[in-house]
Assembly symmetry: C2
Homo-oligomer: 334 residues x 2
């Protein structure tokens, strides 16, 4: 087949978007999506917050975005949306809404054509695990594409060189993932056995890792396993939520490598003292060979997410509750 390889295609799509970045002023980035697709965007906002002199970044649920109707949304806005199959109605409506306001609209999706694509100025197709593609390319997975857009934007607009370090580092992500697969295969199974009968499991993180905690709580535990959950911000933990903790309450603490790590370390000390059912996934223990020191804080959540996915699979097997099982989603009208 003469099909263009997925990597080349995504790169070409990104190049065209970077050209569009050069042609217009951008003051604000709005990250707009629902559920797991929204959670993907938290690390990119963290990057823009830390590194941009002039461009602000906000994250909104698609329907909230439309109804909140931010007054500053306009021609100097970049709206980045994501929907796996490009068919989430609220996200498609949000793209249309943003375009009508004159914003530059860029949408990520796994599929090549979809309603969301029709409402967008540009699309990028990311790689994903599916029946026909069991070896996705981490360099063009959704998180990676989102970073390329954010870092590419600051490269174009503010001369920020993290983009280059990102691109060279992402080439090593498959090796990082392979090693994590080996290290965590048995650990994930053991954990699944331990917690299979728990009714509630909290997740916790801060900074660029918070989105992973949110995603695991709402998509994996609540949606796919019907286990009660809540993503707690590691800084907020000490101002209310920690009172819920005793020896019987399971917590999953994600520890990354970004500047907010002291918040996660503080939460760890507390969990170790007062909790007994803790799972700590610490990126400091990961072999990140090939990932540039300057972007490790940003890339750690991608590695953590890979490990979390292994825990999700192990949990679903141990509980005999496939990740695909739903009672409502896509099954009834809502």
């Amino acid at each position: 087949m003469a099909q263009v390889p997925a990597y080349t295609k995504a790169e070409e799509q990104l190049e065209r978007i970077f050209e569009a970045f050069k042609e217009r002023e951008i003051q604000r980035v709005f990250y707009v999506a629902c559920g797991g697709s929204s959670a993907l965007m938290y690390p990119s906002k963290y990057f823009l917050d830390r590194e941009s002199k002039n461009i602000t970044a906000e994250i909104y649920n698609s329907n909230e975005f439309i109804h909140r109707n931010p007054m500053s949304l306009g021609e100097k806005s970049l709206v980045i949306l994501c929907s796996h199959k490009g068919k989430t109605p609220e996200t498609t409506a949000a793209a249309k809404f943003a375009k009508a306001k004159g914003a530059l609209v860029v949408s990520l999706m796994y599929v090549e054509t979809a309603p969301l694509a029709e409402e967008s100025d540009f699309i990028v197709n990311y790689s994903w695990i599916s029946a026909g593609n069991m070896e996705p390319n981490p360099e063009i997975m959704n998180y990676a594409i989102l970073y390329k857009l954010a870092m590419g934007l600051l490269y174009v607009k503010e001369g920020n060189r993290k983009y280059e370090k990102l691109v060279s580092s992402l080439q090593h992500l498959d090796t990082v993932f392979e090693k994590l697969m080996k290290t965590y295969a048995e650990k994930a199974k053991a954990y699944a056995k331990e917690v299979k009968d728990e009714k509630i499991i909290y997740t916790m993180a801060s900074g660029s890792n918070y989105g992973m905690a949110y995603s695991f709580a709402i998509c994996i535990l609540m949606e796919m396993q019907w286990i009660h959950s809540h993503a707690i911000h590691a800084g907020e933990f000490f101002h209310g939520p920690f009172e819920i903790l005793d020896e019987n309450v399971p917590f999953i603490l994600l520890m990354g490598l970004d500047e907010t790590r002291p918040l996660e370390e503080r939460a760890l000390a507390f969990l170790e003292k007062h909790g007994k059912k803790n799972l700590v996934l610490d990126a400091k223990t990961f072999d990140l060979t090939g990932i540039d020191e300057e972007v490790r804080g940003y890339i750690a959540p991608l590695a953590i997410n890979f490990v979390l996915r292994m825990y999700a699979l192990a949990l679903s097997k141990e509980r005999n509750h496939p990740l695909e099982t739903r009672r409502y989603m896509f099954k009834i009208p809502y």
Copy 2:
């Protein structure tokens, strides 16, 4: 005693801050606090998002704010902080951090002197229920002061006239509260009896009301009642969390009067169809006489919060678990 009345004092403090607004350019507002004090700020961000042409608003946990260290924080930033007793160490540190960056630093607190005051350019003292003050003035309660700051800022900077409508409306809030007290006293007790043995209660809302859902989940249920909880955004509900719902899972849905109400209505329809333990607090049923139509959407969360406080008290009595009981907070080092 020749003491200045609290209302007059707060007004004088606000006047001085508005003068400071006139004297400098403000591009970004950072709302910085922890837990319940942070939740207070969500409605003000909603207002700025909807109504400001040029000024952006962000909400950060105090410790996240310091470590995230947003690059755009600087002389054109207004940082608004809040700590009830002005002694939250992370919030005091955040004020100091913001001041060192050249930002205009305004802090809300209940007390008159505190470490946080020393690190701030301006303070505003709000009114609150306490042993010595059982009849706080709703016009200068924390939510009201925060709105006065946000609406005052846009009045000064962009000629937005909502400030005037806010001030005249707030004069009627005590009457609104009195009527709500009568309507909800027995309802709150009945609900408390119903759910007293529940292990988990979710809260849900969108837009300007989401902060109330967050506050009730983390401060009242988790912190003060040791009941598992999670504030779910009504738009996000349909993209993961709703799979947790069955007839045995209690939800508290807050329905406000702002532009995102359709999200809450959609959640209501789903809860009514698939859940059986729903508490719906709907501001549409409140008697809001005196509150200007143009600001009802913004003021509804204050009324909802008043009602929620009644439910919290009823719950604590029914469960024989005083709201002041803690296992960790202020009792052990953390």
